[in-house]
Amino acid sequence: MSFEKCLYFVRQNPLTEPSDNHIIETQGLTKVYNRWFGFRMTEAVSGLDLKVPPDCTFGFLGPNGAGKTTTIKMLLGLVRPTRGGGRVLDRPLGNQEVRKRIGFLPEEPAFSRHLKAREFLTLCAKLSHVEPDEQKKRVGEALETVKLSHRAGSRLSEFSRGMLQRIGIAQALLHDPTLLILDEPMTGLDPPGRREIKEIMQNLRQREKTIFFSSHILSDVEELCDSIGILNQGRLVLSGPILDLLGTAGVEYTVTNMPATLLPTIEPLVAGMQKRNDQWILQVAEKPNQEKVRRILSDGGCSDIESHRLQKNLDDVFMETIEADNERRGKETQHG
């Protein structure tokens, strides 16, 4: 192999060494779509460095068009990266063998609609290399998991969006994969449909599957995930365990019988205050103010003080992160 070829290979596959216990690991993963013979270029994913630990539910978030689906397709080898590379289950991206250990639900559950549910799942079982004597059992189990056993003989063309989504999950589970990649599993579903999918995902989590799923329904992500990554305009802008990222939004003090004389001193230090019967609820955001308020209340003779930490919700974190990133990009563009 020539030096240029070696260099090209290393650039295309920078992660040649096995990863340190990450189920998914990418380095500088980039996808540029060329249209009109290169006259129109769109950078869908830009220099993505992503690490997904094992045995977790990882939420891959981002606004529409952020590059989530393109990233997933690169992980599965359906789309070729323009630059960078990565490893999934310790194999390079696009490795055919590794797909035996991955279950994938596409964003749009577009399946061969002329087939009956059982026929379709049998076809998928064969394509997933499930042993012939196991196929019938696995198909039955998968239908049971997604609660569609009663519709096994119905054609997919008769299925609602929610049922197709569940069939999509069933086909992803047939070969008992280690890693499940679900692209927008909750999109387009009504509340009962969403709840069913969430229950299925929670059950899978109990079976120690690693789930990587993309979504922009933040409440679902907050409920289901251990870790998240936020993608904006092709770049990963935030990643980590969800509890660390949510952090705290301050402290809420509940004070009984607080003297009215303390109010003018406390008011400038709190973010919000509310009176309920004989109790005052004080929300204090900044840490120095928290200590000051606590001292004022103690010195003021308030003996009955309850406090608990206020946690940010994912909605706030997401919006703050996206807005900050958009602002930074705006400045970069102005300076650039």
Partner: protein
């Protein structure tokens, strides 16, 4: 090989569910049957006319089935049904081979139905008795159609449905024309270039049979071999293109 056959079977079953296929087969059988009536106005050539018509109809059915390769791949890509399949541990090459085999299977079934219909109808009219020469001619027609399916696979990997179908039809027409050019040109370079393209003129022995001629087994064997080699080359080319394609 199991997964290739699964794709082939799925492709064939999807085509078999197209009502248009049965409509086409019924129409074609009716046309062949009506050929017996038109044969009477050909002044002593009704036998040739009936058999020629039968071969032409078999080929039309075969070509229409072969063209499934042109629109099946782009359609699966557009409808995104390909995404779920290619996320399985199935190589893209194997997927293409499966598609090709599925179309070959459905083409064979359709042509067999029309071919048998043709044989029965001409035999019933007392014009021809089913004989080996007719079978040989049908084999050669099938070979030409398989080559067209292979060309369709290549075109379907990178073109839109309508453009791939149009170009495949142009290839079909051109391959007959080029075959005659190759037979009549004295330029060896031109002959070699032409033989890189599918040459269906070699397969056009149906008119020989219609006039009571004999097709040598050598020609049939050569046709089958050429089809196998040509299809293999086309599948390799299709595979190289398809491997680089983003399934977006």
């Amino acid at each position: 090989m199991d997964d290739v056959m699964v794709i082939a079977q799925n492709t064939a079953s999807r085509v078999l569910r197209m009502k248009a296929l049965y409509f086409l087969l019924a129409i074609v059988i009716c046309i062949i049957a009506s050929g017996q009536l038109y044969g009477d106005i050909t002044v002593g050539r009704e036998k040739e006319y009936s058999l020629d018509l039968g071969f032409a109809m078999t080929m039309i059915v075969g070509v229409l089935c072969a063209l499934v390769t042109c629109f099946d791949l782009p359609r699966e890509l557009r409808e995104k049904t390909m995404v779920a399949v290619l996320s399985k541990p199935l190589g893209r090459d194997r997927y293409l081979i499966g598609k090709f085999l599925g179309v070959c299977e459905i083409t064979l079934i359709s042509m067999a139905i029309v071919g048998v219909g043709m044989l029965v109808l001409t035999a019933m009219a007392g014009q021809f008795r089913p004989n080996l020469e007719i079978i040989k001619a049908l084999i050669l027609v099938y070979c030409a159609v398989v080559q067209l399916a292979a060309v369709g696979i290549v075109l379907g990997t990178f073109l839109k449905e309508w453009l791939a179908t149009l170009l495949a039809l142009v290839t079909f027409w051109g391959s007959y024309a080029l075959g005659y050019v190759a037979a009549n040109t004295t330029s060896t370079i031109l002959q070699k270039i032409i033989y890189l393209l599918p040459n269906f003129a070699i397969m056009g022995s149906d008119n020989v049979v219609a006039r009571g001629g004999i097709i040598e087994w050598r020609l049939v064997g050569g046709g089958v071999l050429l089809t196998a080699v040509y299809s293999l080359i086309m599948l390799i080319v299709a595979g190289l293109i398809f491997r680089r394609k983003d399934i977006a």
